[in-house]
Symmetry: C2
Amino acid sequence: MLISDLGERGLLKLIQPYCLPNTIGDDGAIVHPPIGCELVVTTDVLVDGVHFSDRTTTAFDVGWRSVAANLSDLAAMGATPLGITVGLSLPPTLPVVWLDWLYQGMQACLERYGTGIIGGDLTRSSVATVAITALGAVRKDRIIKRSTAQIGDAIVVTGDHGDSHAGLQLLLDPELGQDRNFIDRADLQKHREILISAHQRPQPRLDILPILEQLHANASQVFSVAGMDSSDGLADAIVQICQASKVGAVLDRSTMPISPSLSQMFPDTALDSALYGGEDFELVLCMPESIALELVEKIGRGAAIIGQIGRSPDIILIDDLTEDAPIYLNRQSGFQHF
Amino acid sequence: MLISDLGERGLLKLIQPYCLPNTIGDDGAIVHPPIGCELVVTTDVLVDGVHFSDRTTTAFDVGWRSVAANLSDLAAMGATPLGITVGLSLPPTLPVVWLDWLYQGMQACLERYGTGIIGGDLTRSSVATVAITALGAVRKDRIIKRSTAQIGDAIVVTGDHGDSHAGLQLLLDPELGQDRNFIDRADLQKHREILISAHQRPQPRLDILPILEQLHANASQVFSVAGMDSSDGLADAIVQICQASKVGAVLDRSTMPISPSLSQMFPDTALDSALYGGEDFELVLCMPESIALELVEKIGRGAAIIGQIGRSPDIILIDDLTEDAPIYLNRQSGFQHF
């Protein structure tokens, strides 16, 4: 059955069970912001053929990824989700089952992070487009901004980078990496699954917020955390934080957060994928080193201190093990939307 | 110059001056909800070729209309705007000047209603799509819902209906109405302009909120207001309110809110346009009759009591002046998005 067969009211009936109770039915949805909190709002648009395609992404994964991208933006601000609105444009020739799977994917990701759909709009278009706006709440003194990194801060990443990009490459070209004969078949399959899953089901790092809250509560001195998420690539995130904070950074090649799967499957391009691949949806956070050490320990696998904020405006990646010249990072190699 | 020539960073530079200061630059924007207020969130998606086209709508008007539609949803909930986010998908072949005019139109409408852009996303697509989410604040005891209309309530419309639909017809077929020889040329031109302007520059009725607030403050008894906006047509609004409130309504043909321009230019179809045309962005409100009379007087031109909420589930339009049978209203004739 196609969307055009179902009609508008049939579509709304299909969507309604996926929305939080008592939110649908008026011109707008009501949200109760917690007392004393600021509200954070963030918008992301995903377009068929640009951000996803049938070749690499099921409708379920489109739903998951579109929600994950928005929740990651909330996490990057230190905010806990209150709900999302979904503005959908769909071709009438799309099968209804596609829409159903899209919502199942969105709901799966939303439920995992304890939130839901509170409103939206549904309209016809020649190209499927998912425009999500997420609302979150954050205590005023816990807002994470890009512009407040301090000289001397340690730079923490919450997990590995480059896996999502490598996963996309594997989806686009299933032959890729099959020639790596030194890996046994079972290992190869395991690495493939890890990388593809990183692309299809990214995990927004909302789990970092209670850990940070605990560090704030236990700290002998007040500290501030600067940062953003790495959705447009690790290099992009570091450059943006440095530019917004008017500082520079020195990164250490040996600490780059590269997973065993990535380094074994793509040894030659692993560093480039980690720096410029994007869509890893990890957090890049700057804070005093003593706090950073505690944070990395509490997060565990994948988290690392990768460098330090410095006074010089340059952002350089140095390699203590080799004689290679340092790499100067910039945003040029990141994903460009136009 | 085309959007593809400017590149992503050039585009962001072009858009930034249109955003409220201190809102752009992080993964999300910070909003300060007023203490003691509920937050209202509403989303509308406008698609090129579905909701607007170069034949009938300049980029400025696309911007104005897309903002107006969202602010109207806030007004319909009783909420004062706090800001909007704009999720834009654009073909790279679009001229940059189109984007500039779009933002000028959005800003003109936003400024008129004392609010602004606080965030958004910009991406490539084959079809121009404007997804706006508006945030507003409303006191808990002032929320306007569809489901709370009471038997005996008077039904108020805040202005004329059908003009927007007639204006669209005139834009699609400029010859229309030219044969109405009994109207002099100057009058004809004036009526045309009124109808076309109703389509191109709809006015969300946020001005009604302070009037309602004054009525609440002066009322000897607490009263509640139910309602919604008439963006999908007057008949649709009344039917939706009645269905949500589990009541019916009796409407009076002689009080239908039809402007002199509409009745003179389109005497045969004026009633149909008023009932089913849509996109008038007026409010349809239900409240005790004594309050309704005061409200209509304070709003002035165009506002009217058009009927009463009744116990019978039917929604009928009666005509006391003729012997015509009553018309039973339903939503079937309204605008269907699929």
